[in-house]
């Protein structure tokens, strides 16, 4: 019987109507409540959703404007002197590049690459990192000795050097980019999961599971995994922007996404020679990269705070303060700082 079947049965047994009873708030409901009150996190989420929608709709924009991402417009897309067009002219929202391609469409397509690389590598790295971390933490002994040293080795590896050599050997491609980023992302997650697993496996409820005859795999994935979701969620959220920057770096160095396919990294690389005469060529892809990674980082911080029950007090203090200062024109940052200061005084 597989783990998924077991889990499915578990959920099957849980579904059913609870009548008349007051439903307690689960950990996730509480987390969501805290996250909702974190304005920075909510703003980040909105930004990420907007970017994701724009990325998904990139072909729609391409169809509407009749501008493909690699389509050159030598007649309408270049200035009289043959340089890039500035934003807004001739229906090019972000202007054009030196070949007369629509920069807006290229940045949108770049978002597709960035988000795809960020999410897919994070998903794979999380699955690998959690599995390996659980196994080494749970089994201990020589399994742990071997795998933990392997994790250390990966973390100590000069990743740019490996990425360079892999790109040279196999030729740069999206697959290589994803493989390299995944390979360098799982180890950090593994190390945290291993540490958590080491402490969780000593808990009495794990002993209870063993006394019922649960298999090691069941204990790892049914009993231990739910207790690991909080730290893993934070790590995963924070590893998305890291992967996006990593992809941009590789593409910038010419080892990642190859032209004419657009990626923020290779657009920035091309823009190097032109930004003095065409600021938009550099600014728009750079801003896209900055806003996306910043939003993911801020969301990650928000998730971490929301998962920590102690932050409830900070938010509560912030709300109290806001009511008191209503109309005095203080900013939210002031409130937060004041409440954190007050909190540290109380503690």
């Amino acid at each position: 019987m597989s783990i998924t079947e077991l889990e499915f049965q578990a959920t099957a047994a849980q579904t059913g109507t609870v009548t008349g009873a007051i439903e307690g708030r689960s950990q996730w409901q509480l987390t969501w409540r805290r996250l909702r009150h974190d304005k920075m996190a909510v703003a980040s989420m909105i930004v990420i959703i907007v970017i994701a929608i724009l990325a998904i709709l990139a072909p729609v924009f391409a169809a509407l404007t009749h501008h493909g991402q690699a389509q050159v417009f030598p007649n309408t897309g270049l200035s009289a002197s043959g340089g890039p067009l500035s934003p807004g002219s001739h229906g090019f929202l972000f202007g054009t590049d030196e070949l007369g391609r629509d920069l807006f469409i290229r940045v949108l397509y770049g978002a597709r690459i960035s988000l795809f690389v960020g999410l897919s590598t994070t998903a794979m790295a999380t699955v690998a990192g959690v599995s390996i971390g659980l196994v080494t933490g749970f089994f201990g002994g020589w399994v742990d000795a071997v795998l933990a040293r392997f994790i250390d080795t990966v973390l100590a590896f000069p990743f740019v050097v490996l990425a360079l050599s892999l790109a040279v050997v196999f030729g740069p491609s999206l697959t290589i980019v994803i493989a390299v980023i995944t390979f360098f992302s799982w180890a950090g997650i593994s190390r945290v999961v291993r540490g958590q697993a080491l402490s969780i496996k000593e808990k009495e409820y794990i002993e209870a599971a063993r006394s019922l005859g649960a298999s090691p795999w069941r204990i790892m994935f049914v009993d231990m995994l739910p207790n690991l979701i909080a730290p893993v969620l934070v790590l995963a959220t924070l590893s998305i922007p890291a992967a996006i920057v990593f992809e941009a770096t590789l593409s910038f160095l010419g080892l990642g996404i190859q032209p004419p396919v657009a990626s923020w990294g290779n657009i920035l690389s091309d823009a190097q020679s032109y930004y003095q005469i065409a600021w938009w060529y550099l600014v728009f892809p750079a801003a896209a990269l900055l806003i996306t990674t910043l939003a993911f980082n801020l969301l990650g911080d928000g998730v971490r705070d929301a998962l920590d029950p102690r932050t409830e007090r900070i938010f509560a203090a912030g709300r109290r303060r806001k009511r008191r200062m209503a109309g005095t024109g203080t900013t939210q940052i002031d409130d937060m700082v004041a409440s954190i200061l007050a909190d540290s005084e109380e503690g």
Binding site: Q27, Y205, G213, V222, D223
Partner: protein, 365 residues
């Protein structure tokens, strides 16, 4: 009289052949040593913690065997060995005639249904991230005895049986009080209809009023399902209340064992006598009248237990012999044949040990 310690189990099987059918679990000369690893890259074993050092006991069907002793005397280690949670160093554990000592997990599986455990900490023993329905339903899932709707029904019946609202199966453990959580633990242990439930200090983490409720629940369940309990506690009154027989452990060994009444009323081992004299009495007059035997020193380290009788450095009656020769667990003159004591100089009826202890400490009486 139901459960007692066998000094020589092979012999007892013959003499007690009439009672042999009654035996549910037989533990013979069980030893559990934990290695103490030295520092360095390759941890060398530098010492052994002798947590359990040659304990024999018998649990009989439908009866309760109480196990008492100070913290660190090996009670919980013994329980975990019997439950198959940690491997024994040596000795045998027999369940209904089957040797279940150190069985691999798969072979142990059928016996897991028969031997279940209730844990001490009602907070630590329930997974905080799983719903109560899943926790109580786990035994059914693991052993494949009920799935889907049947499983949910079985879980709700169990919850009702242990006094929980069956509607609450969808809640998390954090939404329950300590007593309710312990009931969840009882329901989980009961799910597979075991024959033996090992209760590892099941009420010591609970409020006194809640303790009584949980103890009464355990007693009701024993009557209904014919359960045997191995009941571990350090509260002597709790053990007196629930047990048919009692074993007193000291530093990994049995000090005294036998039916509840003689052990409590005429303790033979000075350690048992000291424990009993230290238990608070509810009646103020009895409390004032009792002579407390105050022991000196702490429990010695189980890494390096004292020679001879392990209790001799703290014993008010200790003589030279106690430090050299280990006393056998045997019947003392005037006791029933099931009341066994491991002592060279057992306490005599009417003997005032409190004064002897005071003399040892060098105080005027």
């Amino acid at each position: 009289m139901s459960a007692f310690v066998d000094p020589e189990p092979g012999q007892s099987m013959i003499t007690d052949s009439l009672l042999a059918d009654d035996v549910l679990v037989q533990v013979d000369n069980l030893v559990k040593h934990f290695p103490v690893k030295g520092g360095g890259l390759i941890g060398r074993t530098v010492a052994q913690v002798k947590a359990v050092d040659g304990v024999s006991l018998t649990v009989r069907r439908g009866q309760t065997l109480g196990l008492v002793g100070e913290t660190g005397c090996g009670k919980s280690t013994l329980a975990r060995c019997i439950a198959g949670l940690i491997p024994a160093t040596s000795g045998t554990i027999t369940f209904e005639g089957h040797n279940i000592t150190n069985l691999p997990r798969r072979k142990m599986q059928p016996f897991r249904r028969e031997i279940q455990m209730i844990f001490q900490d009602p907070y630590g023993s329930l997974n905080p991230r799983r719903r109560v329905g899943s926790i109580i339903g786990d035994p059914f899932t693991i052993h494949g005895t009920a799935t889907g709707a049947a499983r949910k029904k079985a879980v709700q019946e169990l919850m009702e049986r242990v006094g929980l609202n069956p509607e609450h199966f969808n809640r998390y453990p954090a939404e329950f009080s300590g007593g309710q959580r312990q009931r969840i633990g009882v329901a989980r242990a009961l799910a597979l209809r075991p024959k033996l439930i090992i209760c590892d200090e099941p009420v010591s983490a609970l409020d006194v009023s809640i303790q009584a409720q949980v103890l009464n629940l355990l007693a009701d369940l024993q009557d209904d399902f014919g359960l045997a309990y191995l009941f571990i506690a350090h509260d002597l009154e709790v053990v007196r209340h629930v047990s048919d027989s009692v074993i007193v452990m000291y530093l990994g060994r049995v000090a005294e064992s036998g039916p509840k009444q003689p052990v409590y009323e005429t303790p033979r081992h000075p350690y048992t006598a000291a424990l009993l004299s230290a238990a608070p009495a509810a009646d103020p007059e009895a409390a004032a009248a009792r002579h407390r035997i105050i022991l000196t020193g702490d429990v010695p380290s189980p890494i390096n237990p004292p020679s001879g009788c392990r209790f001799h450095p703290r014993c008010p009656k200790a003589q030279d012999l106690c430090g050299t020769e280990e006393p056998a667990l045997e019947v003392k003159v005037g006791d029933v044949e099931t009341h066994l004591t491991a002592c060279h100089y057992p306490v005599q009826t009417g003997e005032n040990l409190a004064d002897a202890a005071r003399a040892v400490r060098g105080e005027a009486s």
